[in-house]
């Protein structure tokens, strides 16, 4: 999807993010969770899917620490992550509130919502035991 499609296929995703809810498409026919949003479910090609809220918990599948700011207001360095969400879907994001030497493949993370470039975005941070 290009940003030109943002007002159709993915507008509901971003509306939820604005309300600090992380959602993902879930297929009504086969139960598949998928991301990014597609016109049809990639498993069964049904267009009958809805956005459902995620618990926002996951693990880092992979990450990279980037030492080359792109001029988008990111800190230097910044950490890009590919997160496996508990419901069985995945997305790219950035990891915040984390020391560089604390990151590893498999690290448990949780979603947080922060403003970036004047819109709310879903970031992740290490999931720490609640006191």
């Amino acid at each position: 999807m290009s940003e030109n499609n943002a007002d159709t296929l993915t507008s509901e995703f971003w509306e939820n993010i604005e309300r600090k809810k992380l959602v993902r498409p879930v297929c009504n026919l086969c139960g598949n969770n998928f991301f990014s949003p597609q016109v049809v479910c990639p498993d069964c090609q049904s267009s009958d899917w809805i956005y459902e809220e995620s618990n926002g918990n996951g693990k880092i599948y992979s990450y990279t620490v980037i030492h080359r700011p792109m001029g988008d207001g990111f800190p230097n360095p910044y950490i890009v992550v590919d997160v496996d969400l508990e419901e069985g879907w995945k997305m790219y994001s950035q990891l915040l509130n984390c020391e560089i030497d604390e990151i590893s493949v498999g690290l448990e993370v949780e979603v947080i919502f922060e403003k970036h470039a004047e819109r709310t975005m879903p970031f992740f941070q290490p999931r720490r035991a609640k006191k």
């Binding site: 999807m1 991301f35 990279t64 493949v105």
Partner: protein, 384 residues
């Protein structure tokens, strides 16, 4: 070598540089002229063209796409619009020629007059709402795949750096390479260069440069009339996993991308990897070379760094690789960059390399794309 009725009859290269004073069209035309001269042909001999193309019948002008029939003021019997060029362009052209859709195809691509205006090549940056906001760029997509491999197998960093050293030093010796005269490099230079995106340092990563290149493909029969010894296209294969740089590229999905393409290419060519004399493989970063040799089955998953360190990848090694300096040091010209692998393979097989030359090279493996791009392609070329 039964399936070899198609051959490369000409190659053309322009100056390669960090930036050129030309534009995308003029630099490509120069490469086309050079290839025609190399093949002893004129534009009227060309009836197939593979370049980024909306063409007659198409209306969508994506960035970098040009109506080449208008530029050359002629019509064609066959057009290919492979993105990018290189192996997919050559294989599609070979199929078109062998099926009689046309006689002679020119595959070309390149860029000029753009890199001095923006640091990152826009073509690799889909304007995607789930990628761009996180600050991903091409090297970062590849890094995300490599990090999982590094976590699992922990390759020796200095041995891995030796791969970049050998390729970069080949470029240092090659007068046509953008990085000619730089270096020589030692493994410590690689790991001491600035880290860009873990696990990759600056000197692990390919260039972004300007220039153009062109390849002429025709029947073996026609190629035998041309000035240079034909280089036959013996086989090839491609894997298209996903659109590049949109959704996460994952090691568990694309770590072995190329395995099927290699198998099909070698089967069709009736050769094995042990028959290959020179490897012109896609070195978008140092680790991607390791991944490809593991995928070729020459060593097991996780052992590629040690394997290449012990066997050697310079012209004096067991597996001469990226003899011109590769994308790391020779040049990488955007969507036309993959052609450079084909051109260096042809030069090695002709014995006319501008830099290091493998003695009596008869067969070459050429590859394109890679894990982070989520597609891959390979071709086997041989001296007639």
């Amino acid at each position: 070598m039964k399936n070899s009725n198609v051959a490369i009859a000409g190659i053309g290269l322009t100056e390669q540089a960090k930036s050129l004073q030309e534009n995308n069209i003029t630099v490509c035309i120069q490469a086309v002229k050079n290839a025609l001269a190399d093949a002893g042909m004129l534009m009227k001999d060309i009836d197939g063209i593979s370049a980024r193309w909306p063409g007659p019948g198409g209306t969508e002008f994506d960035s970098g796409v040009i109506d080449w029939s208008g530029v050359f003021g002629k019509s064609f019997r066959w057009v290919g619009d492979t993105y990018p060029q290189g192996v997919p362009g050559v294989l599609d052209a070979a199929a078109a020629v062998s099926f009689g859709l046309c006689e002679t195809v020119i595959v070309f691509g390149g860029q000029a007059g753009i890199l001095n205006r923006s640091e990152l090549a826009e073509y690799t940056q889909p304007n995607n709402e789930f990628v761009r906001p996180w600050g991903l760029f091409t090297a970062a997509h590849f890094a995300m795949v490599a990090q999982v491999y590094f976590a699992r197998f922990q390759p020796d960093r200095l041995k891995l750096s030796q791969i970049a050293v050998e390729i970069r030093n080949a470029g240092s010796r090659n007068p046509e390479a953008v990085m000619f005269g730089k270096g020589p490099y030692r493994p410590s230079d690689i790991v001491e260069s600035p880290i860009i995106c873990e696990p990759f340092h600056l000197l692990d990563l390919c260039l972004a440069t300007e220039g153009a290149s062109a390849v002429i493909i025709t029947s073996l029969e026609r190629a035998l009339d041309c000035p240079h010894t034909p280089v036959r296209i013996l086989g090839g294969g491609s894997e298209w996993h996903r659109q590049q740089y949109v959704d996460p590229a994952r090691y568990d999905e694309v770590g072995a991308i190329g395995k099927d393409a290699f198998e099909r290419a070698f089967n069709y060519a009736d050769l094995t990897v042990d028959d290959i004399d020179v490897f012109e493989v896609y070195d978008i970063n140092t680790w991607e070379i390791v991944r490809q040799f593991e995928t070729l089955g020459l060593c097991s998953e996780g052992d590629g760094t040690d394997f290449l360190f012990e066997n050697g990848i310079s012209v004096n090694g067991r597996y001469p690789t990226n003899t011109d300096g590769g994308l790391l040091s020779f040049s990488h010209t955007g969507w036309g960059g993959p052609n450079l692998k084909v051109i260096e393979a042809v030069r090695q097989l002709r014995g006319t390399a501008s830099g290091d030359q493998v003695n009596d090279a008869e067969t070459a493996l050429v590859t394109g794309a890679g894990s982070g791009a989520q597609y891959f392609n390979a071709a086997i070329l041989a001296k007639n």
